[in-house]
């Protein structure tokens, strides 16, 4: 299976843009239905991303709530230079980063590693827990930037263009960061065959 087949099916671009503009207009007008629609469309993704960034569901819900409040407060400054949804995710990612930094300061942990990287909580899932847990632990060792790009691309199904808008980087930088992230993950999760062979010898 090549990566393209793993991507979620994309909706027609015009329909997506129309929906995005309608959402932005509704939220700008202070219409609660606009926010409700945004939550219905993106709430689960937002919470999932926040949980993967913060490591637990409670903090993730707080981050999503804070993100909605920030959207409400700053919607007047939204100029439509990016899509409304990617703008919202940008706020979410920054909120999660702030929450992590705040958590580090509050807990005053002794270990830098434990402070910097979230400890993933146990989640019930259909997939083999060892693989998922191993991936979560490996993700925790990535740089913040690599983790953001990997989660947005591989988990949430954002395109590199959307990731560029969300993280304020170029599309090429997003591709390169993803490549580096996956290379690091691969080394951590599955050492290359050549290394195995060398070890065996």
């Amino acid at each position: 299976m090549e990566p393209f087949q793993n991507r979620p099916a994309s909706e027609p671009a015009d329909a997506v843009r129309g929906e995005d503009a309608a959402l932005a207009a509704a939220c700008l007008a202070g219409d609660m239905h606009g926010y409700e629609r945004l939550y219905a469309l993106q709430g689960a993704k937002m919470k999932n991303l926040a949980r993967n960034l913060l490591g637990n569901a409670l903090d993730a819900e707080d981050a999503v709530q804070e993100t909605f409040l920030k959207v409400q407060r700053s919607i007047g400054g939204f100029r439509g230079q990016s899509s409304f949804v990617t703008w919202t995710f940008r706020i979410l990612v920054n909120t999660c980063h702030d929450a992590r930094r705040s958590r580090v300061r509050k807990k005053e942990v002794t270990s830098d590693d434990a402070a910097e990287n979230p400890i993933p909580e146990q989640r019930a899932a259909a997939a083999p827990p060892t693989l998922r847990l191993a991936l979560e632990r490996a993700l925790a060792t990535l740089t913040q930037h690599q983790r953001d790009v990997f989660l947005l691309y591989e988990v949430e199904g954002f395109s590199h263009a959307e990731i560029g808008e969300t993280l304020d980087i170029s599309e090429a930088a997003s591709k390169n960061t993803l490549f580096q992230a996956k290379k690091n993950l691969r080394q951590m999760l599955e050492p290359p065959r050549s290394a195995d062979a060398a070890g065996a010898r």
Partner: protein
């Protein structure tokens, strides 16, 4: 390791292209790489491991809904909206108060400037008038009319007094016995003519002080001339 792959003649790749394709490969390049991997064990293993990361990543998707989250967000949005509305209304009242304050200040400043301009203009005009007229010009129409009436009255009395002198000197002037008296008569005729002209001009422009002073000077000259005629008689 195969150096080249012949499965896809349009896009030929080898093991060295693998990482580049992993990073930013097109669909055709991926197809070509997979075709190449059919005969390359190393590339096949690398592709498997690479794709397994994407497969594993899907296991990080947990889109289960928490029914309590949206009501919580909704409530906080409503509270925030109420706060924003409250701050807006406070801002509006504050801005009105501030703008009123600013308007009041502006109006006061404008009034002060107006008073200064009017005072300066009045002072300037007053000074000009004072330079032209040694007598202080009363301000206001009422005062001006009163002053003019007094001038007219004084002038009239003065004229009557001079007419009495003229009546005393009239016999000598009508029959001048000497060239001196003849000269006085001619001078008085010229003065009367000038007085008539000035009175006509003063009638058209009663508040012209300069005409009044000229007229007064003529009367004084006529008075002096008549006194001299009477001196000659004695």
């Amino acid at each position: 390791m195969n150096a080249m792959n012949d499965a896809n003649p349009k896009t030929k790749v080898n093991c060295h292209d693998r990482e580049r394709i992993f990073e930013d490969g097109s669909r055709d390049q991926w197809t070509a790489l997979e075709a190449h991997a059919l005969t390359c064990i190393e590339c096949a293993e690398e592709i498997r491991a690479w794709k397994s990361l994407s497969v594993a990543a899907t296991e990080l998707r947990d889109y289960s809904d928490d029914p309590s989250l949206w009501p919580r967000i909704h409530r906080s949005l409503l509270e925030e909206a109420a706060k924003i509305e409250q701050s807006k209304s406070r801002w509006t009242w504050e801005s009105i108060r501030r703008s009123f304050f600013v308007s009041w200040q502006t109006a006061a400043a404008a009034a002060v400037v107006l008073v200064l301009v009017v005072s300066a203009a009045f002072y300037h005009r007053y000074n000009l008038t004072a330079l032209k007229t040694p007598v202080a010009a009363p301000s206001g129409d009422l005062l001006r009319n009163n002053a003019l009436a007094e001038v007219e009255r004084t002038q009239s009395d003065y004229m009557h007094a001079i007419d009495k002198l003229a009546a005393d000197a009239k016999p000598q002037l009508d029959n001048p016995g000497t060239p001196l008296l003849a000269n006085y008569r001619e001078k008085l005729q010229v003065l009367d003519s000038a007085i008539d002209d000035l009175r006509a001009q003063a009638g058209q422009n009663p508040s012209n002080a300069h005409l009044r002073y000229q007229l007064l000077a003529m009367y004084q000259e006529k008075q002096r001339t008549l006194e001299e005629v009477l001196e000659v008689k004695r």
